[in-house]
Amino acid sequence: MGTLENPVLRLVDRARRRSAWLYHFNAGACNGCDIELVACLTPRYDVEQLGIRLEGSPRHADILCVTGPVTRSTREALTIIHAQIPDPKVVVAIGSCPATCNVFAGSPMIAGPVDQVIPVDVYIAGCPPRPHSIIQGIAQAIEILVARKETGR
């Protein structure tokens, strides 16, 4: 990297840090974690002041938030959604279910934890996790996003 490029790269890092757009994917959650994620947008926690926004389309997103254990019917959808997010991207698993399948472990309907389907960068523990820990996890994910220099496919 030449000296000319450095300010541009610094600006890009700054922009990535200040504008993380999330896409929320429910892989089979009980809706507990989903409510806590949406609570982060309310006046009490207001993550929009960090530039974080919940996007409707995976094409617009930087961070994929997965809740729930992966069921057999959402497994393929999850891989497709993950592929639709443009690089650089980070995956956050919210709650105990995407990490271990929690109480659903052993069910014939469950395909397994999220990391058996797509690579996971940050795990947020809790059933459901409090909004504070979700914000902490997203902040960690943003740091990973900024550090991620890999260039597309």
């Binding site: 922009a15 990535r16 504008s19 006046p43 002041q49 443009p86």
Partner: protein, 306 residues
């Protein structure tokens, strides 16, 4: 208007150099004011700029060559035509506009929504198609009163030149015409009671669902340009710029354009999304009524003058 002056208007003021920071500032302050009214702190004013840079630095998802071409040309066309419309506004040169530039202005103004409709259908995503259909419905409903108001102004001042219309249109016509244009403003900017076409979460992201990275950044920029152009149109009609000296006039134009942002943000924060039928009914009933009054007073003023 000589070519050099036209180029200056396009690139410097009220074109690119003014419109870029102003567009980002308008988008950023709209989000911030909405957040404050909802009891939140909200993003910084520079948020739209950071969003733009981030999107520009993302790697677009691979596409076939035809799709990639179409997906790049449509936002560029929307961006360029909105910028061209903005450059036609008689801010600095109140006398030297090209003859009949109202027609060109309207044509350029309508390119951006048209490109969004095409983009929605070209993406072949079901959400994009639903969004594009809604955008087309709203476009027809809002354009009838919008164009009727502009035509009433043109008829009252007996000219198709923007500069002459701004100078000569009597207030009896101008007030109802402005009311009709103000009714159409939130529809054309797709903000809250009329955010039917882009309906975030409900139909993912409307016509732009399949756009990503730099191409989405171009759309965001085109949207910012639409804000600057439409607010600028209202400012030009509202403030008698031709009576002010050039620097004062430019400042008044900037302040009047920006003063519309809190009004629109308050409206967006105070209302929930309407259904498509409710939105079109509002436009056909109330915005059309205002433009009909503008037309009636325009005819009356022509009649009395003759």
């Amino acid at each position: 208007m000589n070519p050099l002056r036209a180029l200056l208007a396009l690139i410097v003021f009220p074109g690119l150099l003014y419109a870029l920071p102003m567009g980002w500032l308008m988008l950023g302050s709209e989000r911030r004011i909405v957040a404050r009214l909802q009891g939140r702190i909200g993003p910084p004013l520079s948020q739209a700029f950071y969003d733009f840079v981030k999107l520009l630095a993302k790697w677009p998802v691979a596409r076939t060559r035809q799709d990639a071409l179409l997906f790049t040309i449509l936002p560029l066309l929307a961006l360029g035509s909105s910028l061209g419309a903005l450059a036609l506004l008689p801010v600095l040169a109140p006398t030297g506009s090209p003859p009949g530039d109202l027609v060109l202005f309207v044509g350029l103004m309508e390119m951006a929504p048209l490109c969004a409709i095409l983009a929605g259908f070209a993406s072949r995503s079901i959400y994009g198609e639903v969004g594009a259909t809604r955008e087309a419905f709203l476009g027809i409903s809002s354009n009838v009163p919008f164009l009727a108001a502009l035509l009433a102004l043109a008829y009252a001042s007996n000219s198709l030149d923007l500069a002459r219309i701004v100078r000569l249109a009597p207030w009896a016509v101008r007030a109802p015409a402005l009311l009709a244009i103000l009714c159409c403003l939130p529809v054309k900017l797709r903000i809250n009671p009329f955010s039917v076409a882009n309906a975030e979460q409900e139909i993912l992201a409307g016509p732009l669902t399949e756009f990503s990275g730099p191409r989405l950044a171009l759309w965001e920029l085109a949207h910012a340009m639409e804000w600057v152009t439409l607010c600028g149109l209202v400012a030009v009609l509202l403030v008698p710029l031709h009576r002010l000296s050039q620097p004062v006039g430019a400042l008044a134009f900037i302040l009047a354009s920006f003063a519309l942002v809190p009004l629109l943000a308050t409206l967006a924060a105070a209302t929930a999304r309407l259904k498509l039928a409710q939105a079109t009914r509002f436009l056909w009933r109330w915005a059309a009524l205002a433009s009909a009054i503008a037309f009636a007073t325009a005819m009356a003023s022509r009649f009395w003058r003759a």
